[in-house]
Subunit: 323 residues, 2 copies
Amino acid sequence: MHIHIENDETATEALRLNSAYLRQALDAHRQLCGQFTLTENSDPTQTAAFLANCDILWAGRKLALDQFATPRLGWVQVMSAGVEQWLAHWRKGIALTNASGVHGEKGAEFILMAALMFNFAIPGFLQDQAQRLWRPTFGGCARGKTVVMLGVGGIGRAAAKLLTAQGYSVIGVTRSGQCDAEVARCIAIDELDSVLPQVDVLVSTLPLTPQTHRLFDRRRLALLPKRAGVVIVGRADVFDYQALREQLRAGDLAGAVLDVYPQEPLPVDDPLWHTPGVIMTPHCSLDDHSAYLDRCLELFIDNLVRYRSGQALRNQVDMQRGY
Amino acid sequence: MHIHIENDETATEALRLNSAYLRQALDAHRQLCGQFTLTENSDPTQTAAFLANCDILWAGRKLALDQFATPRLGWVQVMSAGVEQWLAHWRKGIALTNASGVHGEKGAEFILMAALMFNFAIPGFLQDQAQRLWRPTFGGCARGKTVVMLGVGGIGRAAAKLLTAQGYSVIGVTRSGQCDAEVARCIAIDELDSVLPQVDVLVSTLPLTPQTHRLFDRRRLALLPKRAGVVIVGRADVFDYQALREQLRAGDLAGAVLDVYPQEPLPVDDPLWHTPGVIMTPHCSLDDHSAYLDRCLELFIDNLVRYRSGQALRNQVDMQRGY
């Protein structure tokens, strides 16, 4: 079987899989040693030739798969959790596995930090500091406050566990209303409106799908209480950012910790940069480059064993659901 | 026995102990019911008369005890953790108990938040945001990073437990080099210089004593690596704030999360307000007003039982150590 590695020539070294490194990982595995031929490419003009001859693709960059001939290709492993851009150009019958879960630990730490920042009124104190205002407020502990966690996939599940351990009451929100994460309770997306008035912290880890696109429109955002903080680390287009910005400016929310944006990099003239209560990180807070490639590779190796023996793959994307 | 409650008339309602409320707590306790007479005052011109006639003082504000006649007074319970201002005017033979530990839970949450903020480079991203700069950095997890915790009293101990649970490697620093907190190891203050180059996050919960005053002078601050963040929630005068500010401005530290200042409120013209990397809260991040009085009262009730039976008091200040 032939595995092709398609790297992104513009990506940092730490995110490019080297075929010698993969070979080493394969050779170290009793069931995989000697079973694969490998190629590696990062020149987009050569991609078509490589795709025409591989059985398995490790994709370090996004490809419009329907624009290539892929007669032998049965499975693509991508390095991102979100796959909506892949699905727009998919080819039926090919399995797709994503990197969901690889971001879990760092993402969970980021979400815990953001939740605590709202408890300690950091968005408000940053504004006071800018104006040299001394205005203490003596709020309570984070323990017992309510977090609504939108999505309990890799990141959401890890964050729910950490927040629950920290004493937060976590309400998970999933498509089905079911989940096996450590939450106080789990509800379905269509029950969402009923819990929004209780929110201290709203966290979105949702993928972008037709069902989640603009899920938080102006009306739904307005159901959040003034004390609520919003943390967005999933896909940006789940939210109406203009409505969010206007609500923050009006003081109708406590703040927002944002890692993702409708357009990235965020344009220099976007008013979000200087919206009161917004704390921005530039789409980097979940990615741990030092561990990322190795964790993706671990998943890939495990999946290679499963693929060869006909078992279900881990992290296989459901084409109907879109994640 | 007579208990006098001296309240601070300028304090918020939530921090003033009402004699009826104390009476209720005493009556609910088998060993304390019917044993005490109570008075309550918040008028400074009347304080002397009340102090002349009490055996036990609940002090809701600072008093220069040596300026009063206190013939019967045997014990003072204060509502703060730091007592250096009391000790400057102490009268020998009177027991002093502080409120150390009352702040533990909220303080620990604040310290965890601050440590995570350094891990996610928030001080730097806030500066980038102000300048509309998109400059992602992809650091690792907080897990495994090193926190040096100066002082493991009520707050330090609670924070060490939380940070250790979160995967941080915590080095406790105490006068003796011994502690029973959940730390990776504990060292004495005079071994401090040897661990400073390893610091990811330096947290100070230290009280102000002759030994801790300006413990972090310019020389010692300069031993911290550039990646280090500093969190100060204990007494400000343990640090040379001018040297700290200059190091931050020079980029020799990752940032500082500060809750306390050499002068409070911080003067409007203090350059610290706009020092790069500084995140300020106005001396309020440890105090949970909603729970504060009740937790102090629990401690006081427990100590009343001990006092009557001649047992050692909890939180009794060692006059030699000064905390």
